[in-house]
Symmetry: C2
Amino acid sequence: MVRNLTDAVMGRRPYDRIIKNVRIVNVFTEEIIPGNIGIADGMIACAGDLGEGAEALETVDGKGRFAVPGFIDSHMHLESSMMTPAHFAEAVVPMGTVAVAADPHEIANVMGKRGVEILCEMTRDLPLHVSIMAPSTVPSAPGFETAGASLGAEDVREMLSYDGVLGLGEVMDFNGVVDSDEKMTAIIDEAQKTGCLMDGHVPLLKGRSLQAFVSAGLDCDHTYMDADSVAEKLRCGMWVQIQERYFTPELMAYLNDSPAQGRILLATDDVPISRLAEHGHVDHLVRKAISMGLKPMNAYRYVTINAADRLRMYRSGAVAPGKWADILLLDSLEQADVSAVFCKGVLTAENGKMTVPVPEKPFPADACATMSIEPLAPEDFRLKADGSRALVQVIVQDGKTAKTSPRKAWCAVAGGCVEREGVWADGDKVPCSLVKMAVFNRYPDNDRRSIGFLGNLDQFRGAIATTYAHDCHNLTVYGSSDEDMAAAANLVIRSGGGVAAVKDGRVLAHIALPIAGLLCEDRMEVLAKKFENLTRAAEEMKLNHEEVLSFITLMALAVSPEIKLTDLGLVDVVHKCFVPCVEKTEE
Amino acid sequence: MVRNLTDAVMGRRPYDRIIKNVRIVNVFTEEIIPGNIGIADGMIACAGDLGEGAEALETVDGKGRFAVPGFIDSHMHLESSMMTPAHFAEAVVPMGTVAVAADPHEIANVMGKRGVEILCEMTRDLPLHVSIMAPSTVPSAPGFETAGASLGAEDVREMLSYDGVLGLGEVMDFNGVVDSDEKMTAIIDEAQKTGCLMDGHVPLLKGRSLQAFVSAGLDCDHTYMDADSVAEKLRCGMWVQIQERYFTPELMAYLNDSPAQGRILLATDDVPISRLAEHGHVDHLVRKAISMGLKPMNAYRYVTINAADRLRMYRSGAVAPGKWADILLLDSLEQADVSAVFCKGVLTAENGKMTVPVPEKPFPADACATMSIEPLAPEDFRLKADGSRALVQVIVQDGKTAKTSPRKAWCAVAGGCVEREGVWADGDKVPCSLVKMAVFNRYPDNDRRSIGFLGNLDQFRGAIATTYAHDCHNLTVYGSSDEDMAAAANLVIRSGGGVAAVKDGRVLAHIALPIAGLLCEDRMEVLAKKFENLTRAAEEMKLNHEEVLSFITLMALAVSPEIKLTDLGLVDVVHKCFVPCVEKTEE
């Protein structure tokens, strides 16, 4: 009731709470104003001078700290934390994140609309405000992979009606939009009817192709950004969401000078658990951006009022009257060292810990039964071929990113199966020791599977299996031994999904992800430790990649270049076609 | 269909229209980019470089002119033009105004919700996009005047559901909000439930009172603005709408430097027909603001993208892909000399004239039958009193504004009626020749009427009657002769509302306003001439006020200081009480 606020401001009733003695950061006028904040009904009723003798049921001493608006992450995926929404909230609220727009693209690939419905339900009533974006591109590469669902225009219409859904999630099939693909345009037409927010995803798109994409109403992007692409996207009227990976001093200098201040945002997209635990969440973006030269006031605007404007959260994003009392206290704007978090006026976290319990509820049973796959045997990992040697197409990973390149090798064939030892088939014919990769569809009524070879992993020994494998999240196994591959796969199958590392029959690491094969009930510290363990296991197995998690989750992603393996086979992503794993054999 | 746009951009089908050879003003990046604009389905598909050989069904040569987004007026009242919405559109679209947010406060005072419903209907399908704001404060001074309706929270809820209604119109009873008045807070609570836009009206409100008002979610104001009040309102998170009357070089300099660029707007509020015809509409605001030092790019932003942001018109306000093709061509940014107007991609006006017909439809019959009042006789204008002289309370108008002050006079009483000749009752006792003012309720089942005296009009001879009289729009008559007053009043009654000037039985001016007693079917040029005629009549009658229309329409406005006459009597606006017109009589 509005009178609870007006009465409090005018002294006719006490505030519910006063946060006194703070330096209020005004994201509108860029002022820092010493004063107090009066709160009623979870909202800021008055900020600054509350007048003589203002009373409150409770008064908190801000001790001269800065009071900034709670951080809003305008584009992210909850699943990348591998935690439940409740535990994710418990992790990030103490870091200052009070609201997120989450695109449940991963669980939608596993469970379709039902997954989105479940995430809507599981994110309700959290201290973290979660807006759900309806996944628009499931699967990401139709025809080249099989997910647990395929969502079309009718599904999008239905999802947009769910309570908690704000708009259309990132349209990743930018070529489909530019090419007026039937499915994509039908989905966008459906979303346009509702007037909802629509997010884009346009790495490297430029010029007319970019304008074609934006003409569809997809006016936001969080992919590759340098000063030129930011300028071009702003010019098109887009909102730009800058991820940490694109931060450079040059970009920060550009942002500081841009006249389009209101449409610049910082967003996290995917933050793996280890980085979340080590560096933080939106607070980390703020710190890092400032350290690279972004003006502190800009950094705070980009993750508060600008994000609120983008997400149409008209009562959020500022320490000002009539806004939700989502307020952070910190000692240093540069350090973004959040020491107290008020959500809707209640002290919710202090010194990195929640001060209120996060309501927990179990995921529904169907979310925990998504492994529709029988136990596997070493034989399931054999790549059959005739003759005595085979020319195989190899996925060469670069040891750093998700990018791969194709290369061919001649491998021996023994007992009707291709062996992993061979020689590169191009000029120099040096020997290579390949690693197998296998993808098993894990959804009902589908037993598609494929086997391929990975290069630049010659020293790797053992096997890693995962159900967290973008974007279809099929059971994906990497290994030097069919026995270890089967063992790792079966451990993951038994745990309803997850990640397992096995070497010489010994389990080196195991992370059960029983919820949709993506999430678990572990809290951040526990789960982060499990991933540390996985990293150690990868070292022990001599996995040649800087980020084990990136590696195992991205080699099946058939929308990132150049060559990937899905349940349907080896995909030449650049030329959009399948290529045979065994090109030919010789007697 | 989105594919019509993407296909056009990628050259797979021709654009509906290309506007070639323009200098595109980018309100995001503040760039001016030479190029072409490709339009499909009424939207901008591509702006800038359309590529070699782009084809279109029609090509318009912009001849190097600037292409700016159509102007959006974020706060105005259609009724102040006294034209029908169709004729208003016909007048302002050629000036570059393509969208307005209209608060039908006047017709709501006459006809209640039905008036709002009618305006929603009459503004549909115009070339001008009209968003309706549900009037929040009808009547403006409850208890001190009687309008044709009194709208409460239930009514507001209903109006917010009308097709075309965007939000809650300016909450004028700011004291009611700050004081947590029951009716006002119930109305705001009702609007808050819908999450709609809510406009404020806070002249002179400051400090805690202002914060109390804004805490109610009323985050926009268009009233008094100087640099200090703009700063304070922006600090509170408000959007500020600057009217022409508050333009000063100092304010423009402040606006240029404000960090809160995104929340500054220019808006017209009320533009009387004579000013509209002579100076223009939003184009005039732009010209005048620039002439006073506002940076041209800021001026254009304030009436395009910022207004679109405020009004949540996500597909408007910029010449950029995915936005409605509401585009103006002009030769000079400083002159805002709009020579062509495209609405949704169609050339709609050129060189000050519409190039497409504006669909017209008659107002419903009930809108043309709002004069529920019998013909009047000279006797109806007599102020009765006993004795031989009476001490009367006089409304002294200042000859310039709507402001009045109280003063007392002793007048002779003859034949049981107070005469207009008298002497001021304060110290010097100089003679005065008063003018009568009478207000007759014109709504069904109500025959309330009151008579008072006006000072500082000693030379005035004749009578003027009007039904356009803020905010209740009762029949209001000013005159030096009861006979002329009755004649003017009867002429207005016979014409179903309007304005009439009569001197010595001769009609000097007559403007019929048969639609709700507020509007007529005249086009701008015709109606403006009629008002010129009224101005000449006022001169002939020696009416001592700079703006005849302001004078006749504002003397009954019981929310502006200091003393006004309504159908219920003489109102001391400052002390919020009635005062008797005849204080005492003497034998």
